[in-house]
Amino acid sequence: MKYGFLLLVTFLVVSCSKENQYLNRLEGDWNIENLVRTEIHWDGTINVLSDETDAGEFSMVVSTLGDLTLDNLLDLTFSSVEHGQPFSAAVVIKVDEQAKRVIALGGDCIQCDLAYTIEENKPNRQVWSTFSADEANQLTYKLSFTLKRK
């Protein structure tokens, strides 16, 4: 009885979750309108390392495994032109329950996932940022993508 009740609640929560709504929103093709790399020094100094516009494209589709559709995962393909040569890379992403982070999965490797904080979430515009700390130099690197739906 107790488990049936919990099952019902879980079903209700999952079926209308922010996670699913956000995954649906992400499906499709996006331009990387802006790609910014920043050094944030903890004393307050900000150093912009690079600021690229039209830095490539993201294409996101629902993941599959053989005949199975994995509704909670998306295959993200990044494509761009680097040094005159076309370049592409693929990664599987998921979204947390509250749709606050996009997580690029690192496969079987533990502690290899990369989380992007969703800084802006609109149907046609997304801003994602990820951070990495350099404690020895008391600074944090920030990589920020501004995406615009094609």
């Binding site: 107790k2 609640v9 929560v13 920043t38 944030i40 020094h41 903890w42 004393d43 307050g44 900000i46 998921k94 947390d96 329950e97 509250q98 606050k100 982070r101 997580i103 999965l105 690192g106 533990i110 502690q111 290899c112 996932d113 990369l114 989380a115 992007y116 904080t117 800084e119 940022s129 990820t130 951070f131 990495s132 700390a133 008391q138 944090t140 920030k142």
Partner: protein, 273 residues
Amino acid sequence: MRSFTFSLLLGCLLLFCVVPISAQFTLGVGYEIDGFDAETGINNFVRTYNGYFGNNLDEPLREMGRFSMNGLFGSAGYRMTSPGFTLGGIVTYGNSRYTNTSQLAIGLGQEHALRFNDLNFLFSGGPVLGKFLFLEGVLNIGLRHSTMEVATLYPDGSRSLSYEYDINGVYTTFTPCYEVGGSVGIRLGRMLISARVTQALAIFDGDPELGNGTSLLDPDTNRFRSDEFPRDFGKWVNDTSNYDENNAVFSRELRGTRIALAVEFFFGKPFKD
């Protein structure tokens, strides 16, 4: 308290079998203070966090009070009345929140935002005195979804939930709240203004499996360290392989006394006076 409430509700149900009633649909809004046991869980984290950083904190985290969480709710329900008695069933949905920040001397800050989303099914009943004063016993079955968002704050205004620090995350848990209490209301025409106090019951607290409920957990991490929101921050920092499975805040600690002020508007056929 519990037996009094059940007796009151049962008595009202029996009375409605033998006396004429009228029933009305209600819509309402209200303000709610969601008391919970901050001391053993969240405040233990706060004390150990402040203790761990010690003099390296410019601004420590503040300890939460038992009634720090508050917010608004909306309600819809159905109320039956007969001369001298009332019985109601309403559904409420609302949320309450509390944001806590700390600042390290090196320039980084941290934000801890606790939010309760509450879906409540309230059943109430009791006498109506002098045609306008409602005294009711209340039984509430509540579903509380709690979220603790921990973010690192940078001097440029950036707010990170990413993995550069393990404590960053979105921790969630679910708490069933079985509550009893009472309410006092004054009817003014088609409006009922009421104050309600309910207390969560410790129904499963003695159960070794269900006693603690579920932990406040960030399920979207992939690491050796525990993905639960720690009760003791210092222990958690040093426990890099998750040996201590009980160093977590549990859903049992996120419920308590609830105080609500509500306004309900009645639609449909007026009361029989």
